[in-house]
Amino acid sequence: MLILNLFSTAHRVARWHVAHALPPLLLASGLGAHGQAMPQSGRADSLTSRRHRLPEAQVRAVRLEQFAVGSQRLELDSAVLAQYRGGTAADVLGARLGLYIKNYGPGQLATISLRGTSAQHTAVLWNGLNIALPTLGQNDLALLPISGNTQLLVQPGPAAALYGSGAVGGAIVLRTEPDWRPGLRGSVQADAGSFGLRGGSLEARTATPTLAVRMAASYREAQNNYPYLVREPAGLVRYTMQNAALRHQWSFSPDLTWRVGAAGELTAAVWLTDADREIQQGVSVAGSNAREIDQSRRLVLGYRRTTTGGGQWAVRGAWFEDIINYSDQGAISNSRVRTTQSQAEYTAPLGRRASLRLGAEAQHFAALVDGYGAAPITENRAAAFALLRYDPRPTLRLSANLRQAALPAGLAPLTPTVGLEWDLHRPALASDSLPPAEQPGLTFKASAARTYRAPTLNERYWQPGGNPDLRAESGGGYEAGLRYRLGQTAGVLLENEVTAFHQLVNNWVQWLPLGPGGAYSPRNLRQVRSQGLEASSVLRHRQGRYLASARVAYSFTQTVKTQGVAADTDPVGRQLAFVPLHRASFSTDHQWRGWLGSAAFTFTSYAYTDASASSFLPSVGLLGGTLGRTVPLPHRTSLTLLVQSTNLLNRRYESYPARPAPPRAYSVSLRLNYR
């Protein structure tokens, strides 16, 4: 978020916060929150209202997205997240943002493909720190329960300067933001559903003027013993899914924010997740009883302090432990990686219209992985970055960022980013209470970036085949588009956005049998090109106590290998496997008095399942829905009943080859709210 003394924000804050008269105030203006959705507040009525007043003067973080001018951002608001409280990021990103999730089954491995790139090409950050599994360089979205965080946003497109390694196809940003509203509030929820789904969650938060505390926990289990049909020579035969249970999934995430004096803020956040899953094999693979335990422990401590000159220091230290223990019929593969990370940054105002952030970070990995041998492996990485935001005029916003990472095998490619947003047209009666990027009107936006992905520990140390000399993948791309926002008059807000993108990934890593003894070994071999178009339209309407929103989105993604070597026999020029050419989604939410109704439809065109572009998963359209009712009860409590359904059209489809997806399924949630 912009530093306060940027002109327009300064205006607003001056008006709102004049009483507090904090000289070096930094404000989280929520500039970035408006890519697709409305600001976060935890209050449904904020959807069409003005940004609510900050209850206290705060040392708010200058958000990273502030420096991502010209990039698209997709953000889920808290009202939507609340519907998915028992679920995971895998459930919500596909259904609500129209993103393509490669999913092996309910609760099973789920990875994202942003702009046609692979699972390793999306950086996942939690409170500003990369939480990709260092071994695999990717995240299983089914292991990221929604309850653990209060904010979830996705920035498609290359952006290593901001998000570091892996932000090739884009980044997923998870955050817990302190809630400074005074008093205690909380809720407890119980869930039950088809195929042995049971769950529950608990959230409590409280704040005093100097301390904000939140605690969230969730539990889920599912038998996933759903029926599916297999075509056999004698006809269709009905089977019941075996070895696919989610035996348990816990998430526990306490965090606190403590204001230390007028200028300092200390934050501590913990996120513990623990899942025990049976690993569903393809239905034609017999006799497997594979099982996997995934545990992650994440701790971060941060301190932020504003200086009298209007700048802000922030330091963060984090400790993560990621455990993956896999076993199948006595074959065991265990791994444990401990990561320590530290970040330091200084954000300074440059005059009235610019701000500059300089920072550095270091990561240390200690891995004990069966596949690497008995000896532990350690690796260090470091990076320095400079981020600049400059708004020469209220209608022109610019950013320029740079990151240089140092990896064990040498320097990563230098990764700059530039971005621009230019308001081509602004209605005369534009609201003066909004920051420039949220004003109604027509805006041209563009950005260009170079990016990289550091080799994963598996790529470097797996034996046989691990390649310590592997270079970082590099890439670059640009996007440009238009955003049209129709004002906030008469309770209607309409925002349309269209973006065209083009990007290349060089030195794309591919495992080929080129290692000693013909072992599969990762090599920097390919160039992959991805290009396409993304369009979305968001409508929000408010009339009295009726609140409605609808979002329709479409994406066209063409991703092909453009260059390779002779040993890499995958053909060039064919659409990559698991990249559907077309995706479309429509979601709508309606609230009236205590009622809630919501539906989400996603269409995915066929996706090839091999590099030859011969086998494919057929196209499928899926519908899900939620009905809810909240009844106020005495003593500031209320009760919410939610009935949800997935695959309402009962489509028979495979989300991955030989992994039949569940038929229509229901769940019921009962939530007791206090406040």
Binding site: A286, A535, S605, A611
Partner: protein, 354 residues
């Protein structure tokens, strides 16, 4: 602004009709050549392709075509032909699929054959399948399962060494190479008992019988890697081509390979020429040779190799990794210029003829 987007959405939904077309192929009629493709692991898309060498027609997935789109299963490992029946070992699906030939209609599925590897037979009513036991790196002694081919059931099970592979029959005796050991188990097919064990070399994978009544085992050798950087090879035993006589308990002739791992021993239909793949090429030698040939027969790396007994023409399978479709090459008898190059499914690894 919203209407065009809704139109776009509607248009996108119409694209549902734009899935790639998959015409229903006819069942194979008179194929003669069957090409086995493992498929992508877990995807259940292993296939046997039926190739007619006269018309050059190909049915990519013969089983699916003949059985209304049914999938054959995961990891097609081997196929044996007994008269007008085909016996297909589907490794990861733990089954042997029995089809009628040449139409490829399903006859029976012999289920619960864990980790089936290779099929052979001693008569029109008696078949044998090798099967592994135990998980990766913790293998237990494997089995030879005895099949009654009249009703397609397992009637007996014989314990052999670890990871039994491609067996052969000579004079009503089965010779079973135990690829995780250094032995060949000899089974008397009359009693279904192991009568002796022949020590050959490390990692025997295939056994063939030659014209003179000798047996040849191709041993791939064992390679052990350093578990720490730089992950070099810390121990390696040589591969060897080992000849032994039916009654022997040890090899009579061992032709060692200097480096690397030889693979996929085959013998010509007249049983006078041996073939194997080694260091990315295919080699040929006479069953009377006293040394390994210095130069390759075909300079190509095959993932499967076979000689059609009807015309001695040669088939080589080329696997291009496990994400893209492979192909096979068809050479005239004695080698030479490629006659046919035909794309099949992912991971072609072998052939069968009838």
């Amino acid at each position: 602004m919203k209407k065009p987007l809704l139109a776009l959405l509607a248009g996108a939904t119409l694209l549902a009709g734009c899935d790639p077309s998959t015409p229903t192929p006819d069942s194979p009629t008179n194929a003669g050549v069957y090409v086995l493709s493992e498929g992508q692991f877990g995807a259940g898309d292993g296939a046997v392709s039926a190739f007619d060498r006269n018309t050059k027609s190909l049915v990519i997935d013969a089983f699916g075509a003949a059985n209304s789109g049914s999938k054959l299963g995961d990891v097609i490992q081997d196929m044996g032909v007994v008269g007008t029946r085909g016996y297909i070992c589907v490794n990861a699906s733990n089954k042997v699929e029995v089809v009628s030939l040449p139409d490829f209609k399903s006859v029976a599925t012999i289920k619960n054959i864990r980790q089936p590897r290779y099929f052979t037979f001693t008569s029109a009513t008696r078949g044998y399948v090798t099967a592994w036991r135990g998980p990766y790196t913790n293998y237990a002694p494997g089995k030879v399962l005895v099949l009654d081919l009249t009703n397609n059931t397992v009637i007996d099970s014989i314990t052999v060494g670890r990871c039994p592979e491609q067996l052969t029959v000579l004079n009503n005796k089965l010779y079973v190479p135990n690829s995780y050991d250094n032995t060949v188990s000899v089974i008397d097919a009359a009693t279904n008992k192991v009568t002796s064990t022949v020590t050959v070399g490390d990692g025997p994978r295939n056994v063939v019988a030659d014209q003179a009544g000798n047996l040849w085992a191709l041993c791939t050798g064992f390679t052990v890697y350093n578990p720490a950087p730089p992950y070099d090879v810390i121990s390696s035993t040589q591969g060897a081509l080992v000849r032994f006589a039916p009654g022997a308990t040890a090899g009579q002739l061992s032709l060692p390979f200097a480096t690397g791992n030889p693979n996929d021993l085959r013998i010509s239909p007249d049983k006078t020429l041996l073939y194997y793949s080694y260091n990315g090429a295919e080699y040929q030698l006479s069953t009377t040779a006293a040394a390994l040939p210095p130069t390759p027969f075909i300079r190509r790396s095959f993932n499967g190799f076979a000689i059609d007994p009807r015309d001695n023409s040669i088939y080589g399978a080329v696997s291009t990794g496990y994400t893209s479709n492979g192909y096979f090459l068809h050479y005239p008898a004695g080698g030479g210029k490629v006659i046919d190059s035909v794309t099949v499914k992912v991971g072609p690894n072998g052939f069968a003829f009838n």
